[in-house]
Amino acid sequence: MPTISKSPWMMHYDGSSCNGCDIEVLACLTPLYDIERFGVINTGDPRQADILLITGGVNYHNESVVKQIYEQMPTPKVVVAVGICACSGGVFKDCYNIKGGVDTTIPVDIYVPGCAARPESIIDGVLQAVELLARKQTEAESATAAEGEAQ
């Protein structure tokens, strides 16, 4: 039974965002939107996170940081790119210092477009990420079961 969908812990990383999307991510935690009602905790620790939420595009300076955060997260994990800059680079796409969207560095599962992305669409993205997490967990479990049978 996928248990992860009832307790998805989220980690937020600001790539090279203009802070517009970051403020909307924080708005999700306020009384009006209250994302914690779905069991979501905004943790600062990649080791305890299930969902990695990235705002802003990736630049050449933080490329290694994004990779490291991704690698420090235990499986199953899901990456959500929030805002058009995180999805594709946005208006900064052709800047000399910008590498592009988050998917140029790590695999992205859910894209939440918008400039800035609305809290409603961020919550929608997170909940789709939760569904995907549950699917990944079930797949991993059935894979381990199949392995056990093969042996």
């Binding site: 992860i4 620790d45 235990p74 499986t75 967990q137």
Partner: protein, 293 residues
């Protein structure tokens, strides 16, 4: 008969404490959310969290981490079991300190700068609350004439009548022990954490689950310690003790939601001043009364 009851109490603690602690923790989160004008997570959320953590992948940073964290859990369960078995309070508190040391060691072996700084803060927290915890044991000795928890059931009056200062002092340091604001320096359940996750930074998956489980046991033990202040030989002292523990728990949640984190030196000095004035003063008055009578 009494021995059988004590063994039953110990077993009941080991089996039931996670459920009681989890429910209290869930109510805590719901209550906190309502205080902030939010809906909040499900009351059973701590159980969902724990179940998930126990199933997640463990990323072991240092292999001694596993042994140290399991020792921490065993020691915390031991502390509560000894306490609910009515054993010597000094023994209970020394086992509790040993448990905390295992926790600090588990954080330090990871070599992570965040976990190490968290571990140092955890040590300062221990430095802050330990004197008050020891004075509590001495207070019970002066009130009931025995260090044993089980002897509270033969006292004529609840210990709180003789130990009001010690009680307030203990509730003060309980905020440190329950990891509540304003004293959640080493790690916090809330998002406002400048040290990533402080002392628990490098614990992932089931290892974090062990820490959470130990915290549930610890909460029940600490509230048990609070309720011991209300116990006497009268039958009505038991519902009174439960009500007292719940009231203290509510006050702790309220303090958590209405205060900001303080610096370590403010925590240390305020905890020691409270310990000396309320704890020490209370014991001094008791001793003077004893000498005069």
């Amino acid at each position: 008969m009494v021995y059988l009851l004590r063994v039953l109490c110990m077993l009941a603690f080991v089996v039931l404490a996670p459920f009681v602690g989890g429910l209290l923790s869930g109510l805590d989160r719901k209550l906190s959310a309502r205080m902030q004008g939010r809906i909040g997570p499900h009351v059973l959320q701590p159980f969902y969290d724990l179940y998930k953590l126990l199933q997640k992948q463990i990323l072991v940073v240092n292999r001694y981490q596993v042994m140290l964290l399991l020792s921490f859990l065993v020691m915390v369960v031991g502390t509560g079991a000894l306490f609910f078995g009515g054993f010597d309070l000094l023994l209970v508190f020394f086992v509790l300190t040993t448990a905390s040391m295992f926790f600090v060691l588990a954080a330090t072996v990871t070599n992570s700068p965040y976990a190490e700084l968290g571990a140092q803060r955890e040590l300062i927290q221990m430095l802050s609350y330990e004197p008050m915890i020891l004075l509590t044991a001495v207070g019970f000795f002066m009130a009931n004439g025995s260090f044993k928890g089980v002897d509270a059931f033969t006292a004529d009056l609840p210990a709180i009548v003789k130990l009001p200062g010690v009680f307030i002092g203990l509730v003060f340091v309980l905020t440190i022990k329950l990891r509540k604001s304003p004293f959640d320096l080493s790690t916090s359940h809330h998002a406002h954490q400048e040290l990533v996750k402080g002392v628990t930074t490098e614990f992932s998956g089931a290892l974090m689950g062990v820490v959470e489980l130990a915290h549930l046991y610890e909460t029940v033990f600490l509230l048990g310690l609070v309720s011991l202040f209300f116990i006497s030989s009268a039958w009505w002292s038991i519902p009174l003790a439960l009500a007292g523990a719940l009231l203290v728990w509510f006050i702790e949640v309220l303090i958590d939601n209405t205060s900001a984190r303080v610096k370590w030196n403010q925590m240390l000095s305020s905890a020691w001043i409270i310990t000396a004035v309320l704890g020490g003063g209370n014991l001094l008055v008791l001793e003077i009364i004893r000498m005069l009578s």
